[in-house]
């Protein structure tokens, strides 16, 4: 047989079934594009250097896996429904004398053609979109705009590799389907009438259990740093659970409804319940895919937009006063206290030279030590922190020692502390006993000032690891106990922090000018010394930075959401069209038996409404269950406001629901046109 014949047959076959193949190809292209974009954003390093982006990058990195699993399941399912409609054609070919290998060749060429279209179309789209993303992003964060096309070879190769494997599996699966049926079975397959879906208690309940386990895992995760792995497991469980529940669980539900005679034998329920049992068997996977896409959209949209909304709050926490400055050095030096006092004076003078009236001055210095905190004992030994790769971040805590004299002077109290005792406060969610052992020294807790921590540093409550403030009798003496501790690099563990913040009473430009001046002074004073980090900035200057960072993330969120929503639209359209063709004859019969057009319309509406509400209801449930963990992940970016997260998530749900309803309306018209 002529070799050129197979590609021709394959091409003609696809062209004749264009109504189904075109949406399928577009779906494939979109999947490839999504994969490329997410992979590109996660691994090409475009986002590196943007504060807060590291979490986004990490999330995107595991998003790549989620998308791989998702596209595999989804394309598999779509293709198998496609091939079902073509079995008759294949049967005819085999009746006409083609053997299974010949059919395999046709399917091979079809798969290859789809593969080429998907990879090329998807990559071109993906590269284009990633450029748009990059441009928008750099605009938002005010970085220099670069109009070169940046193509990540690594991402391209990964995309090609992943989808080649997926298409190979799809091809093998189709071959399997054709191999195990005789020519006459193929010819008849369309007419044979479908077996009624059986209620599968095992898979149905398994789905509920897996989904439940995913939810429980998501809710129970406590610490944001260790959360990412757990989150990944939870996501996989929820995806698998959604598929199982929607495929098997919903059939089960329909069967249970059918048992209830009074409910079932009603005009409104009769047709919809029984055809839904069929529909869910065939299209449960499609619904699950829609549901998962919607969930992804909701999660991305609500988390990025809440960060954007929250940037002002975040700014206030980080820069509570108009001017903020910070310096840090390691080790103990008796001159540091003097340096602190001197810096204070210099800054004051410099600020006043700009005409500022310094108020709300909260300038202080602390000695700080970090280690594992367990049972009120802080281990700062070399062993525990020697190996950075095995650090258990959940246990790390930071202690900041403040001299009681300084504390009283700056914050306006009249506390006294005896040697060996300490006034202790923390804004984090940790429990502390009456005695704290820090390194080799023991401190008795004479008083707790947890409610006053905001005065010392409002940012400590959004810190990743807990900070414990200890007001001690003589900070110099305490600090000397910790000189000997060194980290794995041989650097001292003890650190000296200098915090400075005050208001100036100047306008925006004045504040920025003061901050710039102070920055220069710090540079002059601390540059020559052994300081690891120092800066001075103004609230107003930071506002632009914060807005651009979170704005950039939000832009990214909207971009990704749009892509996901578009693919959602295609899935829905595809579903409607293919169902329409399937249902056509069914509704013809019903009309002959005496169903009015209105009945049909009503039945279609109620069916589609139920079927279409399912994904969004499930997506909302998923989002709701994910909120605690989203909140914890957002804490890494300084977000603390749970009610605001809930409110933003609700708004996102409403927006998506409206959009979804519009798609539903349009596609159901397409469906109705086919059916009637």
């Amino acid at each position: 047989m002529n070799i050129g014949l197979y590609p021709k047959i394959a091409y003609e076959g696809m062209r004749k079934n264009g109504k189904l193949y075109i949406p399928y190809c577009i779906t494939c292209i979109l999947m490839v594009a999504i994969y490329y974009i997410v992979h590109f954003l996660a691994f090409s390093g475009v986002l590196i250097g943007i504060p807060g982006a590291s979490t986004a990058v990490q999330m995107l990195g595991f998003g790549v896996y989620v998308i791989t699993i998702f596209s595999a399941i989804f394309l598999f399912y779509t293709q198998s429904t496609l091939i079902k409609g073509r079995k008759k054609e294949f049967g005819l070919y085999s009746v006409l004398g083609m053997n299974k290998n010949n059919l395999g060749m046709i399917i091979f060429y079809e798969t290859i053609m789809t593969w080429i279209a998907a990879i090329f179309g998807g990559l071109i789209l993906g590269i284009g979109m990633s450029k748009v993303a990059e441009l928008g992003f750099t605009r938002m964060i005010a970085a220099p705009v670069n109009y070169d096309f940046r193509i990540s070879t690594d991402s391209v190769l990964h995309t090609i590799g992943t989808f080649t494997v997926i298409f190979l599996l799809i091809w093998l699966n189709t071959i399997r389907q054709i191999k195990f049926s005789s020519a006459i079975e193929l010819v008849r397959s369309e007419k044979a009438g479908e077996k009624p879906p059986k209620a599968n208690w095992f898979i149905g309940s398994l789905g509920v259990i897996v989904l439940g386990a995913g939810y429980v895992l998501a809710i129970r995760i406590q610490q944001p740093i260790s959360a990412l792995f757990g989150f990944f497991i939870a996501v996989v469980l929820v995806i698998v659970g959604t598929y199982l529940v929607l495929i098997a669980g919903s059939v089960l539900l329909c069967r249970i409804l059918q048992k209830n005679k009074d409910y079932y034998y009603k005009t409104n329920h009769f047709v919809s319940v029984s055809s839904m049992a069929y529909r869910m068997k065939r299209n449960g996977a499609g619904l699950a895919s829609i549901c998962i896409l919607l969930t992804i959209v909701l999660v991305i949209l609500s988390s990025t937009s809440v960060l954007f909304n929250n940037s002002e709050y975040c700014l206030t926490v980080r820069y509570p006063n108009e001017i903020g400055a910070f310096a840090c050095t390691y080790g103990y030096d008796e001159n540091l206290t003097d340096l602190g006092e001197r810096l204070d004076d210099i800054l004051y003078e410099a600020a006043e030279a700009h005409g500022a009236t310094v108020t709300n001055n909260k300038t202080y210095y602390t000695y700080s030590i970090s280690g594992y905190l367990e049972n009120d004992v802080l281990q700062v030994t070399l062993d525990s922190l020697s190996d950075m790769t095995f650090i258990d971040y959940d246990k790390v805590a930071q202690i900041q020692f403040i001299d009681v004299g300084l504390y009283n002077r700056v914050f306006g109290y009249n506390e006294t502390v005896e040697p060996g005792k300490a006034i202790v406060g923390t804004a984090n969610d940790i429990t502390l006993g009456d005695t704290l052992i820090i390194g080799d020294s023991t401190f008795e807790v004479s008083k707790r000032i947890d409610d006053r921590i905001d005065e010392i540093d409002p940012a400590s409550k959004i810190a990743v690891s807990p900070t414990i403030y200890m007001i001690v009798d003589d900070v110099e003496e305490v600090a000397q106990n910790y000189i000997q501790y060194q980290d794995y690099n041989g650097e001292p563990m003890l650190a000296w922090y200098w915090y400075c913040r005050f208001d100036t009473g100047l306008d925006v430009d004045g504040q920025i000018a003061v901050a710039n001046d102070l920055s220069a002074i710090l540079n002059e004073e601390l540059g020559p010394l052994n300081f690891t980090n120092y800066y001075c900035d103004s609230h107003e200057n930071q506002r632009t930075d914060f807005l651009s960072t979170f704005g950039g993330l939000m832009f990214l969120g909207i971009l990704l959401s749009t892509i996901f929503l578009v693919s959602c639209v295609l899935i829905i359209y595809y579903k409607q069209i293919s169902e329409g063709f399937e249902d056509k004859s069914r509704f013809e019969i019903m009309q002959k038996v005496g169903m009015t057009r209105e009945d049909i319309k009503k039945s279609i509406n109620s069916q589609m409404l139920t079927v279409f509400l399912i994904p969004i209801v499930f997506a909302c449930a998923h989002l709701f269950m994910a909120l605690p963990i989203i909140h914890k992940l957002l804490m890494l970016m300084g977000f603390m406001n749970m009610p605001m997260l809930v409110a933003t998530a609700s708004v996102c749900v409403v927006i998506c629901a409206v959009f979804y309803a519009a798609i539903y309306k349009v596609t159901s018209n397409a469906y109705y046109k086919i059916v009637s």
Binding site: G193, Y265, V593, G594
Partner: protein, 254 residues
């Protein structure tokens, strides 16, 4: 007054571009009395299915009237049509037209569910007819699980369950083997003896021989009719064969 009065029914099909028109029915006149079992016979293309579709209000006549129990079928509004059909007629199709998403029981219930009947009432109606139709054991099965004859019996049950004024059957034996055909025809006879009016369209002499009256349609008009009277099925079969032979030879029976 007759149950069904058909007078002057004419049906003209226009080809899609309005060019040629085909006259499927020229001028059909007949009546059916209550309790009759009437067969309409004719060659393919003689217009018998068109006639049945007009009787069942699935299609509109170009002119003429169809009056069922005093109601003019042609004047029923489009919106009321489905309800009218559901309440007054039972239709048995050549290819069964059972829904594969329903069990046989639910297929039979369908018209009643559409009419908004209570489940208890549906059940008692089904119990009445299931036994004589011999489908009691099949009710829980799905169409794909049963044979053609069994499907057609379920379809008859679906037509009967609403207690229609008339049953219209379009080549009911067309898709059945001869044994199933016999069983089904006996069933129609039985149903007819219970008082049900049946109008069947067929080209099978065997099927027609079960009727109490056979009408012959040719070139869009009722050409001839035979009453069974006291003759047996076999005798009627013979008469029909003779008539058909004459028809084929183009002989004049009048």
């Amino acid at each position: 007054m007759s149950l069904l009065e058909v007078s002057g029914v004419k049906k003209i099909y226009k080809t899609r571009f309005g060019g040629q028109s085909v006259e499927a029915l020229k001028n059909v006149n007949f009546t059916v009395e209550k309790g009759e079992f009437v067969a309409i016979m004719g060659e393919s293309g003689s217009g018998k299915t068109t006639l049945l579709n007009i009787l069942a209000a699935l299609d509109k006549a170009t002119s003429g009237t169809v009056i069922l129990d005093g109601m003019d079928v042609g004047k029923i509004k489009e919106s009321q049509m489905a309800k009218f059909r559901r309440d007054n007629m039972g239709y048995v199709f050549q290819d069964f037209n059972l829904l594969d998403t329903f069990s046989l029981e639910d297929n039979i219930y369908l018209p009643l569910v559409l009419a908004g009947k209570k489940h208890a009432e549906m059940k008692s109606r089904l119990d009445e007819i299931a036994e004589p139709l011999g489908i009691t054991n099949l009710l829980k099965k799905y169409p794909y699980e049963v044979s053609g004859g069994q499907k057609q019996r379920a379809a008859v049950a679906r037509a009967l369950i609403t207690g229609p004024r008339i049953i219209l059957a379009d080549e009911p034996t067309g898709a059945l083997d001869s044994k199933s055909s016999d069983e089904l025809l006996d069933l129609f006879t039985k149903v007819n003896q219970m008082g049900q009016t049946v109008l069947m369209v067929t080209h099978s002499t065997k099927a027609a021989s079960h009727a109490s009256r056979v009408m012959f349609i040719k070139d869009g008009v009722i050409f001839h009719q035979i009453y069974k009277g006291d003759s047996t099925d076999t005798e009627l079969y013979q008469k029909i064969s003779d008539t058909l032979t004459l028809l084929a030879q183009g002989g004049d029976l009048k």
